[in-house]
Symmetry: C2
Subunit: 117 residues, 2 copies
Amino acid sequence: MTYEEFKEKVGSVILTDEGNCPVTPVVQMLQGKWKLQILYELCIKSPMRFGELKKMLKPITNTALTNALKELEADDLIQRIQYNEMPLRVEYSLTLKGQDLLPVFYSIMQWGTKYIP
Amino acid sequence: MTYEEFKEKVGSVILTDEGNCPVTPVVQMLQGKWKLQILYELCIKSPMRFGELKKMLKPITNTALTNALKELEADDLIQRIQYNEMPLRVEYSLTLKGQDLLPVFYSIMQWGTKYIP
DNA sequence: CAGGATCCTGGATGATACTG
DNA sequence: CAGTATCATCCAGGATCCTG
């Protein structure tokens, strides 16, 4: 997409939104040290258990993982299912809304592979 | 793009990268309270002067704007040109690397308009 | 096993005043 | 006009210990 094409497609949306563009909240939703990596793990394998995620993301702490998962769930990007067995089992997976982020990740990845050494 | 298509396209890249996926650094590059909005302003109008940006992003402070611009310049997303006139004039514009983010913004925007009320 | 409860710190951000 | 310098603030994130 060229600069001019972008302005045609997107410019009016942004301009009429008076600073509240539809991009900012998305990036804010992905902010945080671990959220992206969690989403990635769930892209690769789903569902995953708490301990499984912790192992993949080590050296993450319990607190950090718990908080990130809560926020992702609050944004409806992931789903938490608890099985009341013994021992306790909890599984996390992407929601449809979360899976719809895949094209976004893909376009970011293309930019990244072009510009990041 | 479906979940399975993504895994085919992207999965191997991520898996072989052992946690250092090419997406994380991009999002980190866009983190910060003002960076996205600055890039947006420069998408709409370019070049822009310091005071002009400050007016658009008000209530931003001098410090915040200066820092964000410096970081964006360090990442080679924007270009700073100083004209030693009186009064001083400085103009900011997107680099080619910065303009290449437009498809990314566009895909994020599509997701955002679908899911953000 | 999967978290919860506390305490704490550093880096990001803001406020204010000043300058080439 | 386009910043810099300095100080104050605030909260995401980490460390540690505890529990249904």
